[in-house]
Symmetry: C2
Subunit: 160 residues, 2 copies
């Protein structure tokens, strides 16, 4: 069977970067306490360096799961408008999660940045049970529609 | 810490059933070959009995992953319109995947059903590398917006 993965080109790189910078939510996959996968919706933004970022509640199952095992995956790109939704671009990221210490300078900088894209989060960003999580991305699988699959490095996506 | 999970009520059951019957795509979390989680977008429909269903390509990484380990999770409910996207309803399902034999009577019945909600799939539904996957759901985690979290049984969601 021939590989369905195309050679990476600048159009693919640009599409992945667009999905990263325009997404405000993501589907997050984590491992539950039995090692089974679990997917839920999280808020999504990027830090100043372009790396993925979320604000999560300690009441959410995904938060406990990430504290127990940082391996995770993010799906960016919502189906929009007409046509087959599988023909809309989306990006799967393989990542490791790292929690940011509350009250740290890093937390303050991320809060200012996060509120630019999530102004409604002002209502709860200061709550003690909310924490920032940063994602270190090791790989991207871009699907730009039927027959348009690419495997991207962090550098391809503007992530170092 | 008090439990954030509310007692299940009929409104929660109805919302979960609405998400099941109205979704045309889902985020699917699987385990990759290393046991790490991986999330991607799939087409979504329900069979006659209300149980979740997808049509997947053997060229997709999630298909190989589900054949190796059927444990998976589905996220239904796309963020829409204005306001904080985390205030929009979504449903996380814990499930096991089962592939339907191509050419079986079950396959034929599912194809007719699937095309009702995914008419564009007529272009590829007959390709040899596409297969139906059915999902046996063991649990639902409904998030109807802030402070509206419920844990649902299959029966709550109309699934038996």
């Amino acid at each position: 069977m021939p590989s369905p993965i195309r050679p990476t080109d600048d159009e693919a790189r640009a599409l992945a970067r667009l999905l990263l910078t325009s997404a405000t939510t993501a589907a997050l996959a984590v491992l539950d306490e039995t090692g089974a996968p679990r997917v839920s919706r999280i808020a999504f933004a990027t830090a100043e360096d372009g790396s993925p970022l979320s604000l999560v509640s300690s009441l959410s199952a995904h938060t406990g799961a990430l504290r127990a095992d940082p391996r995770c995956s993010l799906l960016l790109g919502e189906p929009k408008g007409r046509g087959d939704p599988l023909n809309h671009a989306r990006l799967t990221l393989a990542a490791m999660a790292r929690f940011v210490a509350p009250g740290s300078p890093e937390h303050g900088a991320l809060a200012a940045r996060f509120l630019e894209s999530h102004p409604k989060a002002r209502l709860y960003i200061g709550f003690a049970d909310f924490a920032f999580v940063r994602f270190s991305v090791s790989r991207g699988d871009l699907n730009g529609g039927f027959g348009k699959a690419f495997t991207l490095t962090p550098a391809d996506m503007g992530l170092v």
